[in-house]
């Protein structure tokens, strides 16, 4: 028998509408699973009272016949989203104790649609990391396990990925600046989509790199991603970069028919030293789309290898500006000062105590590349390379390509702590397949397609045309159906 917390959004929605279950029962099942999952350190602020109040309100709406698809669906919310009256600290000590007086647009929309918040989810500090090891709450842990080691759920949305994969919630919100939805989704065998830049409002989401950040859903199926994305996106006057475009019915776009569509396979993504398992997964996925009637074409995205260095100039530059606001004055942590300490000491001590090592490193790199004398050499050059990376994609789509298929990650989930002594660049390489998509502002989705020899999940990424989330989700749906990935982590926690 399927427990209620194991349901997909679509199955729960149908059961709620038929009266086979209630939002309160679904929520209770998730709260129980959440408490039993403490060992994974995915939920870092639990809100059971709020959840039950929201569930009761959802049940009333369903009874009254006023039930959008997300009504009564229990979700986990990444700690990066500001939620009114509930701790929202971006997994950083500098925001310790911060309880926003306002609600982010994304969570407002989800809650207006009737969704239920179970609590806040672990992540890398300020979304800077690929393994959830930079969090002030400690590591989130992957529910997938093959030996004695504890594995990373990926990052930065590691808590979201772990909570969804372990069935502590039906779905979760994530955010993606360089791969932070898609890489953890691939590491945990779930679906994660980063929409086109501007599709989802960034208002009330703690900013990391504003020209790259996008929120998106992390779910158990492509259909769920379509349903939840529909509730998250739309124009928001409070975010000047949010697009004033109609939101299509993404679920209705899942026809399963991709006959005659052109799928691009970019040759530059075939990296030196790519593990044979990833190579095979990619070939298998290509064959699945071909069998479904798509035309496979080789394409070239010549500036791919410059995406990571460009990203690691642009993202820290924007972060150093965005994080300047954490100064110990208006919110969050302020250092204890000695007699005679002035305002400069207050800033410097507060930021040294409040920011973790990786965040400090990126703020300083960003400060350096924006400083007088280096702005042109680093920051402007990176922005010009970014324009070329986007042009590569524009040319591929102009040549008739409908979607692009690539691996999601260069490996399966690795062990927590295994990268502790590695060069920071080694950790950055996790984003090698995903970061191009943020730089070009495109939608990208990670779909679980297979398992490695040890049994760990592996994902493929599909990249879509700007604003074509509907088409992209349909391609992902075909891949999901063909791959038939149904494996679940054995419960050890």
């Amino acid at each position: 028998m399927t427990h209620l917390n194991e349901l997909t959004i679509s199955a729960a929605r149908d059961a709620l509408r038929k009266g086979d279950t209630t939002a309160v029962d679904l929520t209770m099942a998730c709260l129980t699973a959440m408490d039993a999952g403490d060992g994974l350190n995915a939920f870092v602020h639990k809100t059971p009272e709020i959840a039950l109040d929201m569930a009761r309100a959802a049940d009333a709406r369903i009874k009254a016949g006023d039930a959008p698809a997300m009504c009564g669906i229990p979700l986990g919310i990444k700690d990066l989203f500001c939620t009114k009256g509930v701790p929202s600290q971006a997994a950083s000590n500098i925001l310790k104790g911060f309880k926003p007086e306002y609600e982010s647009t994304v969570t407002t929309q989800l809650f207006n649609a009737g969704a239920v918040m179970l609590g806040k989810l672990n992540m890398d500090e300020f979304a800077m990391g690929s393994s959830n090891e930079t969090s002030c709450y400690g590591n989130a842990i992957n529910p997938w396990k093959v030996d004695d080691r504890q594995l990373t759920p990926g990052g930065s949305s590691g808590g979201s990925a772990a909570a969804v994969a372990a069935d502590m919630c039906l779905a979760a919100t994530g955010t993606d600046t360089g791969g932070s939805i898609r890489q953890p989704a691939a590491f945990t065998g779930i679906v994660g989509i980063k929409p086109t830049y501007g599709r989802v409002s960034r208002w009330g989401v703690v900013a990391f790199a504003s020209s790259l950040d996008q929120a998106g859903p992390m779910t158990k199926s492509v259909r769920d991603a379509a349903i939840m994305l529909g509730a998250m996106c739309g124009h928001d006057p409070k975010d000047s970069t949010s697009a004033d475009l109609p939101v299509p019915d993404f679920e209705a776009a899942l026809t399963g028919d991709i006959r005659g569509k052109k799928i691009g396979i970019p040759r530059e993504y075939r990296m030196d030293g790519m593990p044979a398992e990833i190579e095979k997964l990619w070939a298998d996925g290509t064959a699945m789309l071909k069998d479904a009637g798509a035309e496979i074409v080789d394409i070239s995205l010549p500036h791919t290898k410059y995406a990571l260095p460009a990203y690691y100039v642009i993202a820290p530059a924007e972060a150093s500006s965005n994080l300047a606001r954490y100064d110990g004055v208006r919110y969050g942590h302020r250092a204890n000062l000695k007699a005679g300490d002035g305002i400069t000491e207050m800033y410097e001590k507060t930021r040294a105590e409040g920011f973790g090592h990786e965040v400090q490193r990126r703020v300083m790199i960003g400060t350096y590349v924006l400083s007088a004398g280096f702005y042109d050499a680093y920051y402007n050059r990176a922005r010009r390379v970014r324009a070329l990376i986007k042009r590569d994609f524009d040319q591929a789509f102009a040549a008739g390509v409908d979607a692009i298929l690539t691996p999601a990650t260069p490996s399966a989930a690795f062990g927590l702590g295994e990268m502790a002594n590695a060069d920071p660049i080694q950790m950055y390489l996790n984003d090698v397949f995903t970061v191009t998509v943020n730089l070009a502002g495109l939608p990208g989705i990670s779909v679980p397609v297979g398992q490695d020899a040890q049994g760990l999940p592996l994902g493929l990424q599909l990249i879509g045309k700007p604003w074509d989330e509907a088409g992209l989700l349909n391609h992902a749906y075909v891949l999901e159906q063909a791959a038939g990935f149904v494996a679940k982590p054995g419960k050890w926690w």
Partner: protein, 95 residues
């Protein structure tokens, strides 16, 4: 381009992050490593390419320049580490 200890000290100062003198050599080395990785960008021919300012070609929306919010002093001060008499309080700024 490698970062020496003086540059690391200067960057930390600009970023308003206190770094102890003893930690500067390690910081300089770390930052140099990351900048070395970025040097790859010098291989790219960017002649005639404009730096990207917006990833989606759209005009930013304008709105009427009117007050839409206000009278929320208590909410604004609610999360302050030190608020007094309706203001944020900070250590002495001017001698």
């Amino acid at each position: 381009m490698s970062i020496d200890i003086d540059t690391a000290r200067k960057v930390a100062k600009l970023a308003r992050i206190r770094v102890e003198e003893a930690e500067l050599p390690a910081l300089a080395q770390e930052l140099s490593g990351i900048l070395g990785f970025m040097e790859q960008l010098n291989e790219v021919d960017v002649e005639g390419v404009e730096p990207m300012t917006s990833v989606t070609p759209q005009r930013l929306k304008r709105r009427a320049d009117v007050v839409t919010d206000g009278d929320i002093q208590a909410q604004i001060l609610k999360n302050a580490p030190d608020a007094r008499e309706g203001f944020f309080a900070v250590p002495k700024v001017v001698e």
